[in-house]
Symmetry: C2
Subunit: 245 residues, 2 copies
């Protein structure tokens, strides 16, 4: 059975997240994608995904895999999918991959970008994918905060916990980038728990605006108490940027 | 009489251009701005503008000026305007300027950016301000085309002409910039005639896709015949970037 890899970008604004819901009238990326695949391949196919993004979260480099019954023309499948799914969802590539490739289990890391807009007013053309917080943030305190996030740690203070599952994750990169009126938070980890990036950004923002002292970040992390993280950044500033295999 | 300068950014998608129309039910940037100023200043004020952008065209650095009867708190006026006009229109700055400042007549140059998306599928987050044309353009032929645009010339082949008005403009910069899956066309001139940038981009695109030979560009320009330029690029890829004083 041939295996296909799909590379997706999407504007999450109009979707209740990636994962299909039991109520098929709820619009999701997976729901739209699998319906299109059913139309084009002639029967339903199960798909695997690298990152199950939340409602309103965007993607530039989402990866999906599926097994199919027989070889297909990948270029033609890509064009047909884009004809059905565009313009909110774009299939940037379709490729035939090794049978042992699995979008979720083969992934070595995921990289996300969160963007704050720190100018005097939001950029009208960026407002759909930037959280406008205005000027005056203490960016050096935010960089100091980000340094605490690196390494293999229990991120319980930043996760909507699931009973019996670990919140230990290995963060390989966490840094702020200045880009004119924008501040990008880049984070790469082996995996993320639910709402982790938005909670890390929320705490960083609270430090940047002087609400939370940077000196308390280590202690908040060690507490593993989600009640200590007051702010969860809104979803529209977040983009699943890239997945490494 | 104090004079104010307003620096505006806007998403042109929801507007029938900058200029107010006699039918006030037609939504324009100027109409929205002047209505907000009337509300905040207590009476109607005439405004001048650097670039009267067309329907669907965006701005990052539009400039407007107006005379007011008495000094105002510029920071407060900016916040109040943004409260009324956001999020499609953002007032990035309000400042008191010399009485002889006029947004249109004092401007030395205008700079526009037009963005083509040349990846296999459009970027869902950029689709509102990029013209997706796909891969395969001959960018060196497009750069050669842009070189023809520089200098003081009659741009009659690229302008929706107005009887009795000259189409001579001085282009100070015209170049393509490669930016991953995007191609930006930057153009700076003392002034532009109607649809000039979109027509220059249209011709460049026709050259890039092999429809128009690059060798005929000089002759098309010299013809001053608008019928020779087949393609006018759609408005949503265009941004009024900056105005120089």
């Amino acid at each position: 059975m041939p295996t296909l890899r799909l590379d997706l970008a999407y504007d999450g604004a109009g979707f209740k997240g990636y994962a299909a819901q039991s109520d098929a009238s709820i619009r999701t990326i997976q729901g739209e994608l699998e319906a299109a695949l059913t139309t084009l391949l002639g029967s339903p196919h199960e798909t695997a995904v690298a990152g199950r993004t939340d409602s309103g979260v965007h993607a530039r480099g989402q990866v999906v895999s599926l097994r199919i019954d027989e070889e297909v023309d990948v270029g033609r499948l890509q064009r047909s999918l884009n004809g059905i799914l565009g313009p909110e969802i774009s299939v940037m590539a379709v490729s035939s991959v090794d049978d042992d490739f699995h979008a979720r289990f083969s992934a070595l890391w995921r990289k996300y970008r969160y963007t704050l807009s720190v100018g005097p007013a939001p950029d009208p053309l960026g407002r759909g994918h930037q959280w406008h917080v205005g000027p005056g943030l203490d960016t050096s305190a935010m960089e100091e905060t980000a340094a605490h996030f690196a390494g293999e740690q229990d991120f319980g203070a930043f996760c909507r916990s699931v009973e019996g599952r670990t919140n230990v994750r290995r963060v390989e990169e966490a840094a702020w980038e200045n880009d004119g009126p924008l501040l990008h938070f880049w984070i790469r980890a082996n995996a993320f728990c639910h709402q982790m990036v938005r909670s890390l950004v929320g705490l960083s923002y609270d430090v940047g605006r002087g609400f939370t002292p940077v000196g308390s970040v280590a202690e908040i992390m060690a507490s593993r108490d989600r009640g200590r993280v007051v702010t969860v950044a809104p979803p529209h500033g977040l983009v699943l940027w890239e997945v490494g295999y």
